[in-house]
């Protein structure tokens, strides 16, 4: 088969060329080899027709046992392939076609169909349509599975595939599915990623480590015959990108909500009277066991604003991660309205958390001190938060609330990280810039200011007689 595939391509692509070359050629050699190879599409790149003459196309088939079995005797259900184009069918059906077809092969070779690569199924392919399958494939009836499958009609490819695989008598059912997928370059079996299937996928991925998850291993772990590596690979790709997307959005939401909360409370405390004791605020900077952050537009009581620095295991904003992914597989899931508001999210059914949460538990804190770029760090932070937190309002909702605080203006660009990694230089810089530019802004923490005398004394002791110093 390996030898065959290129030929196939060659043939398909070169058919036109073949025609042209032949037409342009003054020689009448066209006919000679068309009979020996299908479609006469040997290697038409030889513009010189003499080459065509000189080529012994039979040599092309040396490696191919045209009369015999090219492939192991796979049980391919013709019905399965009914949806496929003739070429595909041709390449696949050979497995199930019995040997007695081989007799017909040669005759059909020159039929202009793509018969080179596979033997046997020529008759079927020649008049490829469902009706003729049975007619030409008299040998097909010999296999009970085939007939049964055929009786099913060319319904779902998947179904037939499974049935054929199952009924294959354990005969390389896996390879059947895979070989089928491998055969057709044009058609892939559409995998239906049901929640259950996806769950197993996620389990496998998590087990391997999402970054280390290799499709072949995942396939092994999942142990599902009907999936190919390619299916897994593309699903994995989608999974990863979606997760990143969700994490980023979630992180952003988290940062905004935290910020809002902090400023809300701080603003409430600091605005107006500076005498407000910071104590209600300060203690929360420790690690009070944070209840799931009340991420609603109304800032909760002031105690909440400092998110614990270790937000890792914290059941915070994991909710967003529960986002529907894949969205299209939740038709049967619950119709509970998406608590979170991400526009693209359709509905996050409760099962979804299980999709994601399991591997979230394990997600490491990849942040190290000095990790720059706050939004990204946030992206990783909530990765292993656990229970979904309902209702994370989108950032713009939070913005709406902010001005209400009075303390936080939208000019405040630096997010409040409150994680144990270091904020980006940019956010620090912008926060500092804000303070410098708008000294009237209230203090974020509202700490008790130091006594001026004490400060000045201390500064003078340190050798700074004058503030602001003339030279920085």
């Amino acid at each position: 088969m390996l030898a065959v595939s290129p030929l196939r391509d060659t043939y398909t692509t070169r058919d036109e060329k073949q025609g042209e070359a032949l037409d342009s050629s003054t020689n009448s050699c066209t006919i000679s080899f068309s009979s020996s190879i299908n479609g006469g599409d040997a290697f038409p790149d030889f513009a010189d027709s003499n080459l065509l003459d000189s080529i012994d196309f039979d040599d092309l088939f040396i490696g191919i046992n045209v009369d015999g079995d090219v492939l192991p005797d796979l049980e391919m259900d013709p019905e399965i392939l009914a949806d496929f184009s003739p070429e595909d069918y041709n390449s696949d059906v050979n497995t199930s076609v019995s040997v007695d077809k081989s007799a017909d092969v040669d005759d059909n070779v020159g039929n202009g169909t793509n018969a080179v690569d596979q033997d046997k199924t020529k008759p079927a392919e020649v008049e490829y349509d469902h009706d003729n399958v049975s007619g030409s494939g008299s040998g097909l009836d010999s296999s009970p599975s085939e007939s049964v499958a055929r009786n099913n009609g060319a319904s779902s490819t998947n179904t037939n595939t499974k049935e054929a695989a199952d009924k294959g008598g354990g005969r390389k059912s896996t390879s059947t599915a895979q070989s089928k997928n491998n055969f057709q370059g044009k058609r892939k079996v559409k995998v239906d990623w049901t929640p259950e299937l996806h769950r197993r996928f996620v389990q496998a991925v998590e087990q391997l480590g999402v970054d280390k998850a290799v499709p072949s291993r995942i396939l092994e772990l999942m142990g599902i015959d009907c999936l190919t590596r390619h299916n897994i690979a593309s699903h994995l790709q989608k999974y990863r990108s979606h997760r990143k997307h969700l994490l980023a959005r979630d992180a952003e939401a988290a940062s905004w909500s935290q910020r809002r909360q902090m400023y809300g409370s701080a603003g409430g405390g600091a605005t107006g009277k500076r005498d407000v004791s910071p104590w209600p605020v300060a203690p929360t900077m420790g690690f009070p066991p944070m209840t799931p952050p009340p991420v609603q537009p109304i800032p909760p009581p002031m105690h909440h604003h400092f998110r614990p620095l270790h937000v890792w295991g914290h059941p915070t904003v994991d909710q967003s991660l529960m986002h529907v992914w894949p969205p299209k597989h939740l038709p049967h899931s619950h119709s509970h309205p998406p608590p979170q508001v991400w526009p693209p999210v359709t509905h996050p059914p409760p099962p979804d958390p299980s999709y994601w949460r399991s591997h979230h538990q394990r997600v490491p804190n990849a942040l190290t001190p000095g990790t720059p770029c706050f939004p990204q760090t946030l992206a990783t932070a909530p990765r292993f938060a656990t229970p979904p937190v309902p209702g994370i309002p989108p950032p713009h909702a939070m913005y709406k609330v902010d001005p209400g605080n009075g303390s936080l203006t939208n000019g405040q660009s630096g997010p409040l990280p409150f994680f144990d990694f270091h904020p980006s230089k940019e956010s620090v810089d912008s926060a500092i810039g804000d303070v410098l530019a708008k000294p009237w802004l209230p203090l974020p923490l509202g700490l008790k200011p130091p006594s001026m005398d004490s400060v000045m004394m201390e500064l003078q002791r340190q050798g700074v007689p004058k503030v602001p110093p003339s030279c920085a």
Partner: protein
Amino acid sequence: MGDSSSASYIHMVHHLIEECIVFNMSKEECMEALSKHANIKPVITSTVWKELEKENKEFFEMYSKSKKETMRDHHSTETNHVRTTDDHHHQN
């Protein structure tokens, strides 16, 4: 005159330090940041920080404690993760 400008300056430094605390920075980091971004001499930052600490002792105690815990948690998490990963590797 000099006093008020000093006072406002010190107040500004105070404000900046609070911002740094919001970013969970240490005193040293704060000194560096303020020096870099606001052109404030580290000694001034340090002094104001210390004075703030005096005035807000409990807050700073909590703050440094939480930072320590965070670092510990952070490290242990990493360690755990690494271990876990290794286990997985071994199993596989």
